[in-house]
């Protein structure tokens, strides 16, 4: 497994989309300056998912988490998002990436950004065949609030060839083709652990969450509501 050089990346970009070896990075803004010897610079996109305070005293990694765990936010180019000290937010790259079936990637925080004690990515590995804007798990680990400007360079993409990689007949659709940051998709812990033969899964004892506001539009609702009376969102 070797890192792809600038020339190798360009050669992949110059392959027709119909070829499995083709690489897509779009939009490639300031294209002539976007490449280093062994990497491509990536920019911060305009869409964010802000984590909500969970309705229980802990985050429960179940199927509900992807539905109600975040608030969507669009920050137009030229505006900024404030990330308070020690807070996190999900963002995405401006660039949509389509990796060939024989290339994997790694996304790294740009060193200038990292030196502000901002972590851009904590799950940096991108599997061959991936296609989508890359979801960024942005964490401000500094002691001061931070301004994020969509459109600015935040990360670097390093590509590696994967010798002898076999092209799958069909792609997995779980995270296929996202253009906005995506919330995590969990199965219920019970369901997942059952496959390992674990039949009893415990959950912390905590009062049942009282949903008196719609997570989408924040309309006040009766405690037993299953749908929002205003925007009709499923609760």
């Amino acid at each position: 497994m070797a890192v792809l050089s600038r020339e190798q990346i360009l050669a992949r970009l110059n392959k027709p989309i119909t070829e499995p070896e083709s690489l897509v990075i779009s939009p490639l803004l300031q294209a002539t300056k976007a490449f280093d010897t062994d990497s491509v610079d990536l920019r911060l996109g305009t869409h964010f998912l802000l984590p909500r305070v969970p309705p229980r005293p802990y985050f429960y990694p179940g199927s509900e988490a992807s539905k109600h765990g975040h608030q969507r936010l669009h920050v137009p180019l030229g505006r900024y998002l404030v990330v308070p000290a020690h807070e996190t937010v999900l963002g995405a790259t401006v660039e949509f990436i389509k990796l060939p079936n024989d290339v994997s990637g790694q996304i790294l925080t740009k060193s200038s950004v990292a030196r502000m004690f901002v972590v851009i990515e904590t799950a940096p590995w991108i599997h061959p065949g991936y296609r989508g804007c890359l979801t960024l798990e942005i964490a401000n680990v500094s002691n001061t609030p931070l301004l994020l400007y969509p459109g600015r360079l935040v990360a670097q993409l390093i590509l590696f060839d994967v010798p002898d990689a076999k092209s799958p007949k069909k792609q997995s659709g779980t995270y296929m083709g996202p253009v906005y940051p995506e919330a995590p998709k969990f199965k219920e812990p019970t369901q997942e652990l059952e496959t390992l033969g674990i039949v009893e899964t415990k959950e912390p004892k905590a009062p049942k969450p009282v949903r008196n506001r719609c997570p989408e539009c924040l309309t006040k609702l009766p405690a037993d509501a299953t749908r929002c009376t205003f925007c009709n969102s499923e609760l």
Binding site: V24, S26, T32, G177, N232
Partner: protein, 357 residues
């Protein structure tokens, strides 16, 4: 929910509020006199193709701003005179009522045709979707050409022409100088069957219907509008003269855009074997709509565990195609604005990177 979605926002109220705020905020600008405002239902905002209908609303602004009513008035009078000639008497009241109908219908038709000039045939296809007009088709798929007219599809209201009459006029425009029809005709979709069905409806099959008692000359008024329709086509062509219909760009990049969508890839940069091009919004919208109508299965077939006949699965991937297209449209705005973009014959492409370090 319907009341909230289709709430009418009064522009005059917004202007008044803005002016009131401007009067108490030092050095603030007054409300711009020629600022157009378009309201769209909340439920429509995330449906990409239905937002093609915004171009129709822009048409209303153009109609009023460029005083198209005055341009059409002499022809309206001529058509009315001819159609009401068979009436025993013609009063001023009759003329006023009939003139109002013709002008109202003409404005709606103008806006439709204007929208097709702006966004291409995807407007007509989005119209079919919004008004659920596929219900006129014969449900038996083996009888592709069969259709039955539903009352809602052939009735003119006081303010709007009948849906199928509008579609018939869309087809006339697409078949005319705009030149899009040869592309639409090849799309394998029941939406296109609806357009073809609409084109074959005779003027005599349309009717005027409202809840109120209609005057005896309502039918004559309707005939007057049929005579006026070619003038509306002509006036719209004059307004949009010199505008690029987007057909050329679509012909260049439509196939590549579809190839990207088939692989769940944003089609904002397409490679033709020599250069990396940035397809424009009209090419993106129309190629994307064509793809979703006739080739969504190709994308779904490439993904594990997706069943093309399951509505939930189809809806998910249709939604994804809309997102990919929306992203490409957003990207296009960025790509053509930046300094590195090279303009060649109306299209934009990326600078060659092989010689740069």
């Amino acid at each position: 929910m319907d009341e909230v979605n289709y709430l009418q926002v009064r522009v005059s109220e917004i202007r008044r509020t803005a002016d009131r705020l401007a009067s108490i905020i030092p050095d603030s600008d007054p409300f711009p006199a020629d600022l157009g405002m378009i309201g769209i239902p909340y439920s429509q905002s995330s449906a990409l193709y239905l937002n093609c209908l915004i171009a129709h609303e822009i048409g209303h602004f153009v109609f009023q701003r460029f005083n198209q009513k005055q341009k059409m008035l002499p022809e309206v009078e001529r058509c009315l005179k001819a159609s009401l000639a068979s009436q025993p008497t013609t009063t001023a009241e009759m003329l006023d009522w009939s003139r109002d109908r013709l002008l109202s219908w003409a404005e709606e038709l103008f806006c439709d045709l204007f929208a097709i000039f702006i966004v291409g045939p995807c407007y007509a296809l989005a119209y079919v979707e919004l008004f659920g007009l596929t219900t006129i088709l014969n449900p038996d798929p083996s009888v592709r050409s069969g259709y039955s007219l539903t009352p809602e599809s052939i009735f003119f209201s006081r303010s709007h022409p009948a849906d199928l009459f509008r579609l018939k006029q869309h087809v006339t425009l697409l078949q005319g100088s705009v030149g899009w029809w040869k592309k639409v005709d090849t799309i394998k979709s029941h939406y296109v069957d609806v357009l073809k069905a609409a084109a074959s409806v005779l003027d005599a099959q349309f009717a005027f219907f409202t809840d109120e008692q209609l005057p005896t000359y309502a039918g004559a008024t309707l005939r007057g509008f049929f005579a006026l329709a070619p003038t509306v086509q002509k006036v719209t062509s004059e307004v949009t003269k010199g505008l690029d219909s987007g057909l050329l760009e679509y012909e260049k990049f439509g196939g590549l855009i579809e190839a990207h969508l088939e692989r769940a890839v944003v089609p904002s940069t397409v490679f033709d074997g020599k250069d990396h091009w940035y397809p424009d919004t009209v090419a993106l919208l129309n190629a994307s709509m064509k793809f979703s109508l006739e080739s969504l299965e190709k994308l779904m077939d490439s993904v594990k565990d997706q069943k093309t006949l399951l509505a939930g699965h189809r809806s998910r991937w249709l939604n994804r195609v809309e997102f990919l297209t929306s992203k490409a449209i957003e990207d296009h705005q960025l790509l053509v604005k930046e300094k590195g973009a090279i303009s060649v014959g109306g299209s934009f492409k990326r600078a060659d990177l092989s010689s740069t370090e």
